[in-house]
Amino acid sequence: MQVTLRVRRFNPETEAESRIEAYDVPAEPMDRVLDLLHWVKWNVDGSLTFRRSCAHGVCGSDAMLINGANRLACKVLVRELGDQITVEPLRGLPVNKDLVVDMEPFFASYREVLPYLVNDDPAPDTERRQSQKERARFDDTTKCILCAACTTSCPVFWADEEYFGPAAIVNAHRFIFDSRDQGAAQRLTVLNDKEGVWRCRTTFNCTDACPRGIKVTQAIQEVKRALLFRKV
């Protein structure tokens, strides 16, 4: 089949504004959108620029706006989209070139929430014990690959880039509900900030966008509840 692939292009070295460029791409229904982008880069225009690495949905490099929804280009197939496909950079982050956005604001928010285990007790000789139930409590949010699909689908984040955004809250959740962690109070104080969880308007865009199937909105709600009751 033939796909019309429209790509929002922008090269700050030569252009003031972005533009849409269309390519006719031969494709199979089982091809990934990433395959189409590669076809263009490798056969038509080597300057088409995007990030990618693993090509099967685990490294988080190639989140993009694809037919209006945030998806990983390597995890959405032509058969799901049909023969008209439009690819644009993620919204809400500065565009560096074509589909490459500046990820630093995203990682800056992530770093704010203490995204690591806090436990100052001396470690035992073997493992810290954790029941299967305790382990299951935070399983969902350990799946995050930091692709930014959720954060850049959030209308609150588009309007206010100071907002931590869903991904940072997901990574806070991953530790707040880990029975081994002692940093919940500190993290909750950070998230109680005016740019913290209370900005969330529960639009569920983030849950729809997550390529790992994380129930992002639910995680944010759980963090809000923990703040209200100061109990995890």
Binding site: N11, P12, E13, T14, M30, R32, H38, K41, W42, N43, D45, G46, S47, T49, F50, R51, R52, S53, C54, A55, H56, G57, V58, C59, G60, S61, K75, L77, N96, K97, D98, V100, M103, Y110, R111, L114, P115, Y116, N119, A123, T126, E127, R128, R129, Q130, S131, Q132, E134, R135, F138, D139, T142, K143, C144, I145, L146, F175, D178, R180, D181
Partner: protein, 578 residues
């Protein structure tokens, strides 16, 4: 092109599991920079699935000596036995270290780290499969990568993200630093350092059907090779038995560890004929050859008869959802197959480089068969060859390798840096990189890197894959010469300064071509079959002539081979049966 200058005690190249583990040690002891071409969490450690073996004996009797034996036997006796002992002994502490850092391992009923079976891992020296693999569902690598990255965030490690290291600076017999290309700006940076640690991963992108990420182009080994460091055991490349048909995406051995079975077109569980004792949990090289034997003998499935099935449909759906969620989703997403109901089409996929930059057990890079150390130069992980994997790596031992030897590399690099001063940089340190980039960007038309790389990959699959012969390998050598000629005229279409991935793809192809040549020449010369290297014209292992490591060195007249003995401690080579 003027380059920016930086000075550190330790520079670590690469931010996968090995690089991040090294960084945790080095950055608390010395002024350390991590230079990585990907954001750290994009590294391919994150794609590892099944687990990390350590003889914790949490669920059944086990000890690290059995693990050592399995590693050596699995590696078809090309493993340096002292290194394997260190790895398997330190595995236990390495797992607990990760757990203390927050790694979310699956748990047993009494809250300890759960363990499962994995290919080639046995109790009592091969008596039966043992539950040794510590895991986090089927995303163990993802969790290790995240955990190590989190700890580096906590520690304030200095990262240079999306910087490509394109040259190693040496002063006499010591490392002096590296030269890196900044993707965002196209600028060059000279990093002066007392210790340089390469942790850049593998180079599976020289093959077409591969589980490897696009980024895995062997830049670290390539840079070292061009500066005179030999490449060890390059002929040993692992083809994982279960890659998604046509795509090569990995489906973890954990599927078979949990009870999954390989079946041919007739539905027969064929591994029973090849490895009667441990069947589907035989080491990867044996299973991959068994799959190709089935296909060649007409028992392959599909219209072209060129795949077999990985069948997990008989497993409890709850077990699949809890322990194999990602790989079953890959089958659904990319092949439209429901693993709970039907077999998943699979074929062997180029997966792991056993060979690489030669090091000793302290992760120090050695320059020759006498193991002469290059001062201040270290390597760990897949890009290195210690050698703990010998001729065939056992499943889970790669995650183990990166944390054990990554840690050793970080400590040793920092301690070395504490005891020495910086050495003088060579004159015009960025000169060689500048000339290389100008050369690559200097053609106004021609053939794209992608076309040359595509031909390389197809040919490597055909001629240097699971089955090799003298004839095929000779053909591949001739073809490499012609690919190299085409590469000399490669066309880089993008003329931008910033984010010029077109230029970088051309650079990366150069490394792949160099390393492919070392692989093919080493493979042609080794006239025996051992582990992942199978010669149809020499199907038997030949310990009398070939129980030795190869060292491939670059010369003006091509690859020159040298050999060094395998370190033996207490395990005498015996026939490898399962």
């Amino acid at each position: 092109m003027t380059a920016q200058q930086h000075t550190f005690d330790v520079v670590i190249v690469g931010a996968g599991g090995a690089g991040l583990r090294a960084a945790l040690e080095a950055s608390r002891r010395a002024r350390t920079a991590v230079i990585t071409k990907l954001y750290p969490t994009r590294s391919h450690t994150g794609a590892a699935q099944g687990g990390m073996c350590a003889a914790l004996a949490n669920v059944e009797e086990d000890n690290w000596e059995w693990h050592t034996f399995d590693t050596i036997k699995g590696g078809d006796y090309l493993v340096d036995q002292d290194a394997a002992e260190i790895m398997c002994r330190e595995a236990i502490e390495a797992v607990y270290d990760l757990e203390h850092m927050g790694m979310p391992f699956n748990r047993t009923g009494d809250g300890r780290i759960d363990q499962r079976r994995f290919g080639g891992h046995t109790h009592h020296h091969g008596a039966g499969a043992v539950r040794r693999s510590c895991f986090a569902a089927d995303r163990t690598g993802h969790m290790i990568l995240q955990t190590l990255f989190q700890q580096n965030v906590k520690q304030g490690t200095v990262f240079f993200d999306e910087f490509y290291v394109l040259d190693l600076l040496l002063a006499g017999d010591r490392a002096a630093g590296v030269v890196a290309y900044e993707l965002a700006t196209g600028e060059l940076h000279v990093f002066r350092a007392k210790s340089v640690v390469f942790c850049t991963g593998g180079y599976g992108k020289m093959f077409k059907i591969t589980s490897n990420a696009h980024a895995l182009t062997g830049d670290g080994p390539g840079v070292c090779y061009r500066r005179g460091v030999p490449m060890e055991d390059m002929e040993f490349f692992q083809f994982h038995p279960t890659g998604l048909y046509r795509l090569g995406v990995l489906l973890s051995e954990a599927a078979r560890g949990e009870g999954g079975i390989l079946r041919n077109a007739d539905g027969e569980a064929f591994m029973e004929r090849y490895a009667p004792t441990i069947k589907d949990l035989a080491p990867r090289d044996m299973v991959s050859r068994a799959i190709y034997s089935e296909i060649r003998e007409g028992r392959g499935a599909g219209p072209d008869g060129d795949y077999v099935y990985l069948d997990v449909s008989h497993l409890d759906p709850g077990v699949i959802d809890a322990k194999l969620p990602d790989i079953t989703e890959f089958a659904r997403t990319y092949l439209g197959v429901e693993p709970k109901k039907e077999g998943v089409p699979i074929q062997p996929t180029a997966h792991y480089a056993m060979g690489g930059i030669p090091t000793d057990v302290d992760a120090r890079v050695v320059a020759d068969a006498a193991n002469t150390v290059i001062g201040g130069l270290y390597a760990a992980g897949e890009c290195a060859c210690v050698s703990v994997h010998g001729a065939n790596r056992l499943g889970t031992n790669s995650l183990l390798d990166i944390v054990v030897f990554g840690k050793r590399a970080g400590i040793n690099a920092a301690e070395h840096a504490a005891g020495v001063g910086h050495v003088e940089l060579p004159e015009d340190p960025a000169g060689a990189v500048t000339r290389m980039l100008e050369g690559l960007a200097g053609h106004a038309e021609g053939e794209r890197a992608a076309a040359i790389r595509g031909d390389l990959q197809v040919s490597m699959d055909e001629k240097a894959g699971v089955y090799r012969t003298e004839t095929l390998l000779k053909e591949m050598e001739v073809e490499l010469a012609s690919l190299r000629e085409r590469y000399a005229r490669v066309w880089v279409q993008d003329t931008s300064r910033g984010y010029n991935t077109d230029l970088l793809e051309a650079v990366e192809l150069g490394f792949l071509l160099d390393l492919a040549e070392t692989l093919v020449v080493s493979a042609r010369t080794r006239t025996e079959s051992r582990g992942g290297h199978f010669r149809e014209d020499h199907p038997a292992r030949d310990d009398k002539n070939w129980l030795k490591h190869s060292l491939a060195r670059r010369t003006d007249s091509g690859v020159r081979l040298d050999y060094k003995p395998v370190t033996m401690t207490r395990y005498e080579p015996m026939e490898r049966k399962y």
